[in-house]
């Protein structure tokens, strides 16, 4: 299977990455080379195989239902969370206007 220029452009748009025409010139053939490479997986008979769901099987833990049990990942960190925001206003993340 191979993808067209339009399909790669569509995937880029789904992934929210702006693509210029020049980017697509090299990306489309690279994309198809990689797809051709991974396509050899089709040779493998997996009809009686379950897909892997855990690398090392273990029970998923539940944490204690306690507020701020771990202070590192608990609440009350507004300023820390905003410290690296490109735009922070009034204790919130700033974004361009989204309502017309």
């Amino acid at each position: 299977m191979s993808v067209t220029r339009e399909e790669v452009a569509k995937i880029a748009s789904l992934a929210r990455i702006r693509m210029e025409e020049g980017d697509l010139d090299h990306l489309v053939p690279e994309f198809n080379n990689i797809l051709a490479f991974v396509e050899q997986l089709g040779e493998v008979d997996t009809s009686s195989v379950e897909p892997m769901t855990a690398v090392i099987p273990q029970k998923l833990r539940l944490r204690d239902d306690v507020v701020d049990a771990d202070p590192l990942t608990g609440g009350g960190k507004r300023d820390d969370i905003l410290a690296n925001a490109p735009v922070a206003e009034h204790g919130f993340f700033g974004v361009p206007k989204v309502i017309e």
Partner: protein
Amino acid sequence: MSDLTQLGVKAIRDGVTGGEFSAVEVAEAFNTAVAAASELNAFITATPDHALAAAEKADADRAAGKDLGPLAGVPIGMKDLFATRGVQTSAASHILEGFKPEYESTVSQKLWDAGAGMLGKLNLDQFAMGSSNESSYFGEVANPWKASDGSNAKLTPGGSSGGSSAAVAARLCPAATGTDTGGSIRQPAALTGTTGIKPTYGRCSRWGIVAFASSLDQAGPMARSVEDCAIMLEAMAGFDAKDSTSLQMDVPAWSAELSGDLSGKKVGIPKEYRMDGTDAEILKAWDDGIAWLKDAGAEVVDISLPHTKYALPAYYIVAPAEASSNLARYDGVRYGLRDIEDGAGLQDMYATTRAHGFGDEVKRRILIGTYVLSAGFYDAYYTQAMKVRTLVQRDFENAWAECDVVLAPTTPTAAFALGEKLDDPLALYLSDIFTVPASLAGLPAMSVPAGLNSKGLPLGLQLIGKAFDEQGVLNAGLAIEQRAEFTAQPERWW
């Protein structure tokens, strides 16, 4: 005094603890070496003050008669993928340039708690995606080794932990952290004559490590001896409730239990790793390794890992799929770069930020990942890859009925020239062909130096062990180290 930068982790720790030299002298020696090696471009950010502060504390603790940690006075390099409080954590990307975390990753915190200090943040492939360190936004890293054939070309230090491997090989630090998703510790170690181990998936907490492919990412140490790797790994590993896949197991005393006596052990030699296109000198090194392990008392048996050839294509579905999901967080809103044209809306802001913030290889993987996860293709690509992953893991489980540890080459070639594979992403992917299977199966695996090839470049051998059996891997690695007697060093040109 002899050159302190020649010393490894254990020698520094013991020297500081025993009062042979001060931790500050050590930190200053390494800080000087780092500052003089800018031509290698191994560090993105140098943090000499961090290293000095840890050293001063170690010296003060010793003077006060306090117990010193297992890494007291040891300055290390930190791959710039680990969040370090107040110090830029870039993942070698433009999109995280200037990002200074408000918190410390679990692994780095454990190292500081053990007494280590930080010489700086080490360069890497952007978001750890690459095998040559050429995808870094901050420029490629040069391998301190050069071929003896007079070509003088700059070589790759491997990737993604290429800053780590170059810095350890060039004696800019006695040890460094790395992360391994498909071979990013083992492949750079092999190409630089250094030693590195990827532990069992879940041994080291992923909390605070910039995520690439979460079901594969695993931190580990890189150093110049098996014992130094064991000491580092003991400090880095351990259960962390903040990582849902963290292993709830005690950390064994790997360094104390090290033994190069392999009597009663069986070493498997997988026939599928004898691939077309593998360098004849690599195959010779592999044969040497077999002889060394026999000499150490092991019985060598031929084994088969029949799905080996499908591991790499499965990896190049699974890893990009997880990456496309993980990297969705870079949106120009919460941290990192924001790029927006005047009057543009939110969707345009996302697309422009990500177009300018990510490098080509990162974009390529996000797009592949988005494609294989998209409706209509999910089963054909992603589900099939995860089924093949089950088969790769099953191959190893079957092998453990016949052997305790697997010996294989780490890479199909020695270090290649920077730029050589730049135009062909697929050719570069193939350099991880021997390391990816253990990653898919979550198994502990390490690379140890085997010797130099005819061009004077290092070659590495890989040991793969059962889940949780880092000890078996380290012991077999030690047996090789004791017999390879690898003492060569790159000649200084930087």
